[in-house]
């Protein structure tokens, strides 16, 4: 069986977490490829419905960072 590779949706705040993810790139930090980022202007924008929808749409995990 193929090894399980989760797909994780990350809601990232434009001002902090998204900038942090950019900095991780600038610093060439290596991490697994499982994350798909969705940029929002504030983590407060993240409606609980988004999280449920993401899980319903076959995503294996949700990260809200801000």
């Amino acid at each position: 069986m193929e090894e399980f590779e989760p797909k994780i949706v990350a809601f990232l705040c434009h001002w902090c977490a998204y900038a942090g993810a950019d900095l991780a790139g600038v610093s060439r930090l290596q991490y697994p490829t499982n994350i798909r980022a969705i940029r929002v202007m504030c983590s407060g924008r993240v409606d609980p419905v988004f999280i449920i929808k993401a899980l319903k749409e076959r995503c294996d995990g949700v990260l809200v960072a801000g």
């Binding site: 490829t33 969705i38 504030c42 407060g44 924008r45 993240v46 419905v49 993401a54 995503c59």
Partner: protein, 950 residues
């Protein structure tokens, strides 16, 4: 932190960056200078270099990386750091062997081996000097062993070690053997407050704070077991919120603070460790072994800058800083030339930012008549209407040299993008951000009649504005655009997984395409900025702000609640430099009264404020009369006062007074000051106490200045200063040195062993424990002067009027502690003076000018455009619950007035105040709020397309 500022400056249409350039000479006078510049060759064409790094990758030379303080190496073609602006490489000809490999590898054809030194001349009206400072080189202080022992490093080297982009990728290691240190020592005042040859006498102001910061961050990196010790003379943390940081470092992080100057460092053979030996205040000899020693080196003006000052004929201070006057804190000795930053004196970031805004205001004052005569503005391209058209999306996938293409299979991503719904065009670019590509994109948009664009490249944080501008130039609304981050968040972080990185890039492109298909053209609210300004508070900083605003051409109203201008400055006798303050203040007041653009409202308070940036309406209340003032911006300069002490028997005897009481006696030539034999100053009265944890910043210099004045009048007078740490930062340190030389006696006390002031049969006695003899002393005094805290005038009502926050101590909270010290997060409201934090007159004036400068950036635009990505209510769905109103940090939502014809009582959102964060949208129970650009359907579309439809 400074990256966005760098990008903004780099991209500004009216800022021309001239790198690798030096000022050779300046001719002419204020308003009309001719500046001759020497432009050193870069050997790489700035216009063509895209910063991809291919040249450095293939450069065979290994050179010392001076940006990383020699702890790392770099190539002969190099860039200091990844976020540098301009993002262009340089060839270091000292190490380049001329092999030409970079030239063959550079796909942008930017290498110019034949680049030559040039000279250019500029015609300018005013000049601002901000050449900065350099770290003190401790090699000359032999006992420290710097340069001899690899594990003795400077604080600047340690900064690079801590940095994620530094030589050890942020991993805390010592240079000798790359081992993690378990014990680190910091030595303060290296090259500062040092009377020996080759060192500097002044205090460098910033080192205490940065040493604490470095120790706290070191513990964050290495874990709480790391032992950090700071050897100091006085801990100087007089900045806003600094004292709290110091307390937390000691009490929460367990940083050890040892008051001593280390006299010997010996290597421990075979270990790389260092044994430090020192004597405590009590005379005890101690020694301790550390794995790493960090020297907190001070700031000094570089010899190059001293030569520049000499060429320009600018006067310097004893410490080789640019000489300025207290009441003109950013003006050099030469008219029309201004100064800011650490060349004016050793200072930290917030103070440098205040100074730089102040210098901009001072320069703006003399150039105000020429405002907007040489500025350039963008050409406006008419916008194409795309509403009701089916999406025709263009996808541009960037190779970014090899940055993306080296990992992600760009051709396959491009091919894939072309298959996605509504994508009419997909292509790849070597560098999507290069200037020629912008023109190509504009062409393609027009040719293919595209109405949506996706750029898959780096990050919107740095490049979105650039591509949006390209859309505007092609006649498209700038919101019909989406950036897809396949570099910072893909190729750079998944180097070893090219296949999965390519998959991820495809997913991200798909998500962006589905999202952009749902984007609509957005309108940006246009706002006219009322050109009248209001300054609240007629103290010295308020007057400085008002005078600068008026000199730059704006009608200015000063609202002062007392019956006269001048504020606290009227209570002060002399500056630390010995200037008569009242005389200077009265000249300032005359200036204000004679300026016809300034309207002074005395005995006036504010009772109501309506409106928002550009359009405020304030109700002024004076002698039972109300008046409405319409203004575009507001400057809050509401000041602070001296605390009335509640300890040391204050108020029980006329000989126990505060510093301001003493100033009053000096001013009024009180006969009481004639027959004195002994005077005792007590510092930190009400400051640095649990109930008021901040340092009041000005009292050390103030007390010493007053003590010197007493001593000048009565050389035989015994003067004692009882202190906790003497904080005569910067060049005020000379005052402290002078005071010690004059015979003023300094006795240190601690918070748990405070002095006592007693009254016995008309005899004033001060009891204190001497910190060196460790014995109680009793001093009989004719005068006890209490250095009482500065407390803000704290007006909750006012804070509410303007929706600006105050901190626990009652001072206003600025927009950003470092980068926005003179403005609020609320647009159109600015801040200066003691209401921000205690500060001396020169700093208050500088901040007054800074607030004016920040206000002018808004006023000069006359019309401002707000962002299009704002929230909007659908009142038909609104249930009037009020959650949006209570949750919004910017007060953008409100209820539609009850007497309105449509939807009274339902919520509406003012697009001008909305910052587009979406808090209200996520919290609206009725789904009545939409966030344009980040609406539910757009985010849902992204979520839906995370996985491909099966």
């Amino acid at each position: 932190m400074i990256s966005p500022k760098l990008v903004e400056v780099g991209r500004h249409i009216n800022i021309e960056l001239m790198t690798c350039s030096e000022v050779e000479s300046v001719e002419g006078e204020s308003g009309n200078f001719e500046v001759t510049l020497v432009n050193h060759p870069r050997y790489i064409d700035l216009a063509k270099c895209t910063g991809c790094g291919e040249c450095a990758l293939h450069c065979p030379v290994t050179a010392v990386d001076s940006f990383n303080m020699g702890l790392d190496d770099r190539k002969a073609t190099y860039i200091d750091y990844a976020q540098a602006v301009p993002l262009a490489f340089t060839i270091d000809t000292d190490t380049c062997i001329g092999c030409g490999k970079c030239e063959t590898k550079c796909m942008a054809q930017a290498i110019r081996f034949d680049d030559k030194e040039r000279k250019t001349t500029l015609n300018v009206g005013s000049i601002i000097l901000s050449p900065g400072s350099q770290g003190f080189d401790p090699s000359g202080l032999e006992y420290l062993g710097y340069g001899k022992y690899a594990n003795v490093i400077t604080s600047l080297e340690f900064e690079r070690i801590l940095s994620a982009s530094g030589p050890y990728s942020g991993h805390l290691m010592r240079p000798l053997d790359r081992r993690e240190p378990a014990k680190i020592a910091w030595f303060q005042c290296i090259g500062s407050r040092d009377l020996s040859e080759g060192a500097n006498k002044y205090c460098s102001s910033v080192c205490c704070m940065y040493a604490i910061k470095e120790s706290v961050i070191a513990k964050e990196h290495a874990g709480s077991d790391l032992d950090c010790a700071i050897f100091y003379m006085d801990m100087r943390t007089p900045g806003k919120d600094f004292e709290k940081y110091y307390n937390d470092a000691r009490d929460k992080h367990g940083i050890r603070f040892i008051k001593s100057r280390v006299h010997t460092i010996d290597p421990v053979p075979g270990t790389g460790d260092l044994e430090v030996r020192y004597v405590t205040d009590g005379g005890e000899m101690n020694s301790e072994i550390f794995n790493l020693v960090v020297l907190s080196v001070g700031l000094q003006t570089s010899p190059d800058v001293i030569r520049l000052a000499n060429r320009l004929g600018i006067e310097l201070t004893r410490g080789n800083f640019c000489k300025t006057e207290t009441f003109e804190p950013v003006a050099t000795s030469k008219q029309g030339i201004f100064v800011c930053g650490a060349f004016q004196g050793p200072k930290d970031i917030p103070q440098s930012v205040v100074d730089s805004s102040a210098a901009a205001a001072a320069a703006g004052e003399i150039l105000s008549t020429a405002r907007n005569t040489l500025t350039r503005s963008k050409e406006i391209v008419p916008e194409i209407n795309v509403i009701n058209e089916r999406p025709r999306i263009g996808v541009f996938v960037c190779r970014c040299g090899i940055n993306i293409a080296g990992v992600v299979d760009v051709p396959s991503v491009t091919e894939y993008a072309a298959t996605l719904p509504y994508v009419d065009f997909a292509t790849e670019n070597l560098y999507t951000c290069s200037q020629d590509t912008q023109e190509i994109i504009t062409q393609i948009i027009k040719e293919k009649n595209l109405n949506r664009v996706v750029v898959a490249s780096c990050t919107p944080k740095t490049h979105e504005a650039l591509f949006q501008e390209t859309l505007i130039n092609a006649g498209l609304n700038k919101y019909l655009f989406e950036m897809c981050n396949i570099r910072n968040q893909d190729s750079w972080v998944h180097k070893n997984n090219p296949e999965l990185a390519t998959e991820k890039a495809k997913d991200l492109v798909r998500m962006s395409v589905t999202r952009v298909a749902l984007m609509e053209p957005l309108k940006e609210a246009e706002l006219e900025v009322n050109q009248t300004t209001m300054v609240l508070g007629g103290g010295i900083s308020g007057m400085a702000a008002a005078r600068s605003l008026a000199r730059q051409g704006y009608e200015t109203h000063i609202i002062e609640k007392s019956d006269r201008l001048g504020g606290q400055a009227l209570n002060l006798f002399q500056t630390p430099e010995g200037e008569d303050i009242r005389e200077k203040v009265s000249l300032y007041i005359d200036d204000i009264n004679n300026n016809e653009k300034i309207h002074v409202h005395l005995n006036t308070t504010i009772t109501r404020v309506d409106g928002f940036v550009g359009n405020f309406e304030s109700e002024l209340y004076s002698k039972n009369e109300k008046q409405i003032l319409k203004h575009g911006v507001a400057v809050l300069a509401t000041g602070a006062s001296e605390l009335k002490p509640v300890e040391y028997n204050y108020g029980k005897d006329p000989r126990i007074i505060t510093n301001l009481d003493l100033d009053k006696k000096f001013i009024q030539k009180d006969p009481m000051l004639k027959n004195l034999t002994s005077a005792v100053f007590i510092q930190c009265v009400g400051s640095r106490e649990p109930q008021r944890p901040y340092c009041s910043r000005v009292c050390c210099a103030h007390s010493i200045q007053s003590a010197l004045e007493l001593k000048r009048r009565h050389p035989d007078l015994n003067v004692f200063i009882l202190y906790r740490d003497i904080r005569t930062y910067g060049e005020h340190e000379y005052l402290y040195q002078k005071a010690r030389k004059t015979g003023i006696i300094f006795i240190k006390f601690s918070l748990d062993n405070k002095p006592e002031v007693t009254l016995q049969e008309d005899q004033l006695r001060v009891g204190v424990r001497d910190h060196i003899l460790n014995r109680p002393l009793e001093i009989s005094a004719d005068l006890v002067i209490l250095a009482s805290a500065i407390v803000p005038n704290g007006d909750e009502k006012l804070a509410n009027f303007f929706k600006v926050p105050t901190n626990n101590d009652g001072f206003f909270v600025e927009k950003h502690a470092k980068l926005g010290p003179s403005e609020f997060a609320t647009d159109g409201v600015f801040l200066c003076g003691l209401a921000h934090y205690p500060k001396p007159i020169d700093e208050s004036i500088a901040q007054g000018l800074a607030a004016a400068s920040r206000a002018v950036t808004l006023l000069s635009r006359k019309n401002i455009f707000m962002s299009g990505t704002v929230a909007m209510t659908d009142p038909a769905y609104c249930s009037s619950c009020g959650v949006c109103i209570s949750i919004c940090p910017y007060s953008a939502p409100s209820f539609i007035p009850d007497d309105d014809r449509f939807f009274p009582g339902r919520a509406q959102i003012n697009p001008v105040l909305c910052k587009g964060c979406g808090l209200c949208v996520a919290s609206c129970r009725s789904g009545a709020i939409h966030l344009k650009g980040f609406d539910n359907d757009q985010i849902f579309a992204q979520i839906f397309s995370v996985n491909e439809v099966i």
